[in-house]
């Protein structure tokens, strides 16, 4: 079972982890990236770097390691970010066939995302990647988002759609939405007015491809009226789609009813 985690350092990581690393400074990136790749080489993982050549690459590269710079691959015009998901899936299968323990990916997201990428696009693509990771793929993916490159709202969005966060803990996401099983997603943490827009984008990202979204709220500490309204608004945007909220605590259930959302016209249902 996947459990949400927010920690200051990049290690330890384990197979199945999908980490949002909000990188505070370039020197910290170089040091931690080196350790991450060295650990992987030592343990028998296949390494893949998406981005420019980090100094550590020369130390750890092996004949089967992969270095792909999405920005260069398209003449600097950015990458088809859907390719990230299929590439990870494909290379994880290859790594397995080749006898590696797992595929270990370091993605420099400023090289992956084209300029002008929106929080909604981040939510859409990262959630698809998380579905792959949570579906049993033998991989570890660290998505490195330098805080000097991305605006705060995009960093907040990125953090909210990974089960694991690394970086300064004051920047840790208030909530995390991540895959638990086919058609089932976990919602952890707190959804309030500060994070309501990110929450809306994340739920939209899931509902787009899912007629019935089952949302386990066992790890949800608090959701306020704006968060509940965003849940309803997202469901309303996809006629015929439904959200089943499961494992919610008594306060969540009470507030849901007090706000009148337990209405048959609302396509969101709280399971008893």
């Amino acid at each position: 079972m996947r459990i949400a985690r927010s920690v200051a350092g990049l290690s330890p990581v384990d197979v199945g982890d999908h980490v949002c690393w909000v990188v505070p400074a370039e020197d910290e990136f170089q040091r931690a990236a080196r350790d991450f790749l060295r650990d992987g080489a030592k343990i028998g993982d296949k390494l893949m770097v998406l981005g420019s050549v980090p100094p550590a690459w020369l130390e750890v590269q092996s004949p089967r390691a992969l270095l792909i710079d999405p920005a260069d691959a398209t003449g600097g015009a950015g990458w088809d970010t859907d390719a990230l998901v299929s590439l990870v899936g494909r290379e994880a299968e290859a790594a397995d066939r080749q006898g590696f323990r797992a595929l270990r990916v370091l993605a420099q997201m400023e090289r992956v995302w084209p300029e002008g990428t929106t929080p909604q696009q981040v939510a859409d693509r990262e959630l698809r990647l998380d579905a792959l990771m949570g579906g049993g793929t033998a991989a570890i993916v660290v998505c490195a988002y330098p805080s000097s490159v991305f605006p705060p709202e995009l960093l907040e969005q990125a953090g909210s759609v990974h089960p694991h966060f690394t970086g300064r803990l004051e920047q840790a996401p208030a909530f995390q939405l991540f895959h638990s099983a086919k058609g089932h997603w976990n919602l952890n943490g707190v959804v309030d007015a500060d994070g309501a827009e990110s929450f809306h984008a994340a739920v939209i990202g899931l509902l787009r491809n899912m007629p019935v979204l089952r949302l386990s709220c066992r790890g949800l500490q608090l959701i306020d009226a704006s968060g509940m309204q965003m849940l309803v608004k997202a469901a309303d945007a996809f006629p015929g789609h439904r959200i089943m909220v499961e494992d919610s605590n008594p306060t969540v259930r009470k507030c849901w009813e007090l706000l009148g959302f337990d209405d048959p016209t609302i396509p969101v249902e709280l399971a008893p």
């Binding site: 208030a174 707190v190 309030d192 007015a193 500060d194 608090l222 306020d224 009226a225 704006s226 309204q229 309803v232 605590n249 008594p250 306060t251 009470k254 507030c255 007090l258 706000l259 009148g260 959302f261 209405d263 016209t265 609302i266």
Partner: protein, 320 residues
């Protein structure tokens, strides 16, 4: 301080809702007046809802005996609403809506628990009486009798009741109340804040800090579990209102007084609608849910708001 200006409402003396003060002197007089009101209603094939204390319910049940019209009289359970007067208007709206949907004209008898209410609760109960005229200004016709025991209720409460009821029931006769004032409600000052355990200035992105401060303060006084969770949701709503509507920031103070844990939020906003938080939100409406949730989740919500001085929202949670 007076209530915020409200949108013009129909003259309470010509509105379909008849809000009537019944000052009485002791239990015998209560029974006499209430039974007269009930008998008139039942004779006219009207339905009657009664919200009074358990001892008064007992008196009425005994007086009613086995009358055949008893099925058109209901004792409503105000105990389930808790002590917060901010929950009474939606409850009456629900009760009235149900009776009206049954096709029956409605009368009600409502006596607030003046004897057991705290001073702060008495202030909010008086404000509730004033708000009833606004809340039911456009409602289907119904008639509410509000008994006040003049031997037990404080004179200031009676004075306020006199100003809030357009009609009265005196010496067996129903008529216009000459002391009624169709104007703003005059609030008592909030009780002085104790030296706060915690003071926090908050702004955008600080809702988590607001909850952390309250959790720390509440923990010192033994407030935990679902009661604390309820308070945290209410506090989140009020603090978010400060950020969204109150100038972008606010100040939180928390303290305990007796058996009550208090969170006070001050900001530069102005709540213009005196019924804010008193009406059940529609499922698809945009916004307007924060104060409603606060009223439903806290034991008492006191709001003072003017354009000049900004807004103070005080949330009280009882510790026992």
């Amino acid at each position: 301080m007076t209530s915020p200006p409200a949108a013009p409402t129909p003259d309470p003396r010509v509105a379909a809702f008849r809000h009537e003060l019944y000052p009485y002197d002791g239990d015998t007089a209560f029974l006499q007046g209430a039974m007269s009101f009930i008998d008139d209603a039942l004779s006219a094939d009207e339905t009657v809802l009664v919200a009074v204390s358990e001892d008064k319910q007992h008196m009425l049940r005994q007086a009613l005996g086995r009358t055949t019209a008893r099925e058109r009289l209901s004792f409503v359970d105000t105990g389930a609403l808790g002590r917060n007067p901010g929950r009474l208007i939606p409850a009456w709206q629900d009760w009235i809506a149900k009776s009206v949907s049954d096709g029956l004209p409605v009368r009600g008898i409502s006596e607030s628990p003046w004897g057991t209410a705290t001073p702060a609760e008495r202030g909010e109960l008086s404000y509730h009486e004033w708000l009833l005229n606004r809340a039911f200004a456009d409602s289907p016709a119904w008639w509410l009798l509000c008994p006040y025991d003049t031997t037990a209720v404080e004179p200031t409460v009676l004075d306020s009741a006199g100003r809030c009821h357009p009609f009265h029931f005196l010496e067996g006769a129903h008529g216009d109340n000459p002391t009624f004032v169709d104007g703003p409600f005059v609030f008592d000052d909030l009780s002085a804040a104790r030296d706060p355990d915690h003071v926090l200035i908050y702004g955008a992105g600080d809702l988590g800090r607001v909850r952390d401060e309250i959790t720390a303060g509440a923990g010192k006084h033994g407030l935990a579990g679902h009661r604390l969770q309820d308070l945290l949701v209410a506090a989140t709503e009020v603090a978010a209102n400060s950020v969204r509507h109150g100038g972008g920031s606010g100040t939180l103070r928390t303290w305990a007084s007796g058996d009550t844990f208090v969170c006070q939020f001050d900001d530069a906003g102005h709540i213009r609608d005196p019924l804010a938080g008193r009406m059940r939100p529609a499922p698809h409406q945009i916004g307007g849910r924060g104060l409603w949730l606060a009223q439903q989740l806290c034991d008492l919500v006191e709001i003072r708001s003017t354009a000049e001085d900004g807004t103070t929202v005080r949330l009280s949670t009882y510790l026992s």
